[in-house]
């Protein structure tokens, strides 16, 4: 009987371990926003996991400088997930919809870097997940009266590499300053 109890205890711990590990994952659960698709005028839904990202990276041309930069950016990333909804009229989504995302971003490790509030362009929040000193994920939450957008990049995001995409493939100029460390290189 004691042996049975011990086996059960060990198995319970083994089952619980992945749950604990998963809790530190930077992937957000965006499914709570899916109901907005029915009201939206335009919807963007992107789910690219690690496997798809690796497959896509094989199609980037190494000889092309721009594509090489994108390939470097996505190296090591575990996924990119986007939900964006544009509405014809205001008030199509509720504060609770945003709150479900913000609640997840209050979890351990997440840090809100920027919060921009503008009457014209809405509210923009940028979050980074830190695993120690390393960046383990990025989340961007943008909302205005007629739009709500959530971007979730899972994995080590290199903001310098992201900045290097400016002006390429239709990516607008951001003016993100590179860190001194990279400039020295």
């Amino acid at each position: 009987m004691k042996a049975l109890f011990r086996i059960n205890l060990i198995l319970s711990l083994l089952v619980a371990l992945p749950l604990v590990v998963q809790a530190q994952d930077s992937r957000l659960q965006l499914g709570s926003l899916d109901h907005l698709a029915a009201k939206a005028n335009q919807t963007v839904d992107v789910n690219v996991d690690e496997r798809l990202m690796k497959m896509a990276s094989k199609l980037f041309n190494e000889k092309d400088v721009d594509e090489r930069q994108v390939k470097k950016l996505i190296e090591g990333l575990k996924g990119i997930y986007v939900r964006s909804f544009e509405f014809e009229t205001e008030g199509q989504y509720s504060a609770a919809d945003l709150q479900t995302i913000r609640t997840q971003l209050r979890g351990p490790g997440w840090t809100r870097l920027v919060n921009v509030t503008s009457k014209k362009e809405g509210n923009l929040e940028v979050y980074l997940l830190f695993n120690g000193d390393l960046v383990g994920g990025l989340a961007v939450l943008h909302s205005d009266p007629k739009e709500i957008t959530v971007v979730n990049i899972v994995g080590p995001v290199d903001l310098d590499k992201l900045a290097s995409l400016e002006g390429q493939f239709g990516v607008p100029e951001l003016g993100i300053e590179k860190t001194k460390k990279n400039d020295e290189k």
Partner: protein, 169 residues
């Protein structure tokens, strides 16, 4: 034959009686202390084992539901859906270059978990192309949103608030 041996074990012993004595002697009374029944101590191991089994089953069910929810409703797809509107759209090209009403631009329902080979088959190449398209769309959208952060400090007005905050939670 004298019966003295039977009476007081004197006289000539009868071998047959001696044999019977040896056989029946094992059943002779032997003095020993009284053994009182010890009250049985109740064991909690069966209860704990059952509780652990139930916990294990619940955890397994939770993991299974979580995995199922993650894989089923989000079939690794990327799509842009646009609903026709009576009013003219002001900026449809801001998110995607081409927006066709009720058209799914990129869908990948055939997602399978298997290691990608080095050389892509035709099907995998198509899948990879879609993934690349989705990837670029996501990066475009991300940088577009992040550009607001850069723009706001330059266009600071009294109505705008810019807050650089530290760790939350």
């Amino acid at each position: 034959m004298k019966d003295d041996y039977l009476w007081d074990k004197s006289g000539q012993p009868d071998p047959e009686i001696q044999k019977l004595e040896e056989i029946l002697g094992t059943l002779r009374y032997q003095p020993r202390p009284l053994e009182l029944p010890v009250p049985r101590r109740r064991s909690y191991f069966p209860l704990l084992a059952i509780a652990a089994s139930v916990l294990l089953a619940l955890l397994a069910a939770g993991v299974w539901l979580r995995v199922r929810n993650q894989s089923a409703p989000q079939p690794q797809e990327a799509k842009v859906v646009s609903t026709p509107s009576p009013v003219e759209e002001k900026k449809p090209e801001q998110i995607v270059p081409k927006v066709v009403p009720q058209e799914v631009i990129a869908v990948n329902h055939k997602h399978r978990h298997r290691p990608a080979p080095t050389a892509l088959s035709k099907r995998e190449r198509e899948e990879a192309l879609l993934a690349k398209q989705q990837l670029m769309m996501a990066l475009r959208l991300t940088t577009e949103k992040l550009s607001l952060v850069h723009r706001k400090p330059q266009n600071t007005t009294p109505a705008n608030q810019i807050k650089n905050q530290h760790r939350v939670g």
